[in-house]
Amino acid sequence: MLGNVIFSHFLQTIGRTKHFRRVDREKFISIVKENQRLIYKICYTYCKDSESRKDLEQEILVQIWKSLSRFDGRVKVSTWIYQVALNTAFLFHRNEAKHKKNKIYIDKSVLTVADTNVATELDERIAKLYRFIDTLDKLNKALVILYLEDRKYKEIADILGITETNVGTKIGRIKNKLKDYFQNS
């Protein structure tokens, strides 16, 4: 009798979990769709070759999925996605040997670009901008991306975990560097 009660409770729990995971999955796909450009740009900023970009993209998606249950809405979805994506990019190291052995990544990109002109960045200004970003360290890369994305200082401060005043000072410096780079090269 008691066994039946426990067993039925167990089945209900599994059913509920499956239901929540399904709901989560739908929510996850919609979050990924809404933030696909952000994820794409972060992968492009932190990885030079397409193979690494594809792996980082999948790693970011996995971390978003894993963090989804902890997301409590205290910060904006975009702030949370930036935190997850940037932290993943910071910790991402592509190990070719491990990659081949474990096959933890699939050999296809989730984010696909229909117009290849966008992917190869025929716009020289964007190519130059990425070359400039490439000269910066990881933290300043994050800062310049957030600046270009027109994020408010408060949000940048929340994403990076520094003060708004600090964000202002650093963005001021980056603007000067950016200006110099575009004028002198």
Binding site: K41, L61, V62, N87, H93, V110, L148, E149, D150, F182
Partner: protein, 205 residues
Amino acid sequence: MELIEIKNAWAQYDHNLVNNLKVDEETLRMVNLDRTKEQMEYPYISEMVELFGGVLVSVAIVVLSFRLKEDPLYLILGLIAVMVGSLYIKNAHSKIGLLKRVKYYDTPVVKLQGELALIKKRILKYRKTELLIFPLYVLPIAALTSKTFYNVDIFGNATLFAVKFAIALAVAYIIVLLIHKHLYDKRFREVEKIIARLKEFEKES
């Protein structure tokens, strides 16, 4: 080119992506989202192995020592190995605590990187200590197992034992110091650099 033009170019790039970037849902479903093979879990698993392995080895040492209880010298060796083993278990437990403390990924970037760097630094300190005491763990275990399984009594010839022990200890500590210098100290300096870089970034001037 002015900043406003650069920002406009970026906005145009973003606009192009709106029209061209697509999520391949079929591929997204193929990604194993629940996989556990992520880089942050490897240190955690390794420490769990050290913890449970340490407990098992300690139990084995106690059993071996009691089988040789007629010879108090082996009991002393067993005691030394168990004490060192307990330190490994305690360290593994502390490291697991450190690794579990971190709320990965959905934390502000500088805060997470700082926390991880400090944890790496503390784990490196633990590892250095563990390597330093490793000969004191392995040599008594070697003596206990050779007596139990091969009936080789290292105390049979006290002078020979002292010479062998001194040579083994000297060789072991040369290796330990080399590993410290070429592996841990190098990693330590790298972590220190990261911490300094993060502090610099956090500064408001």
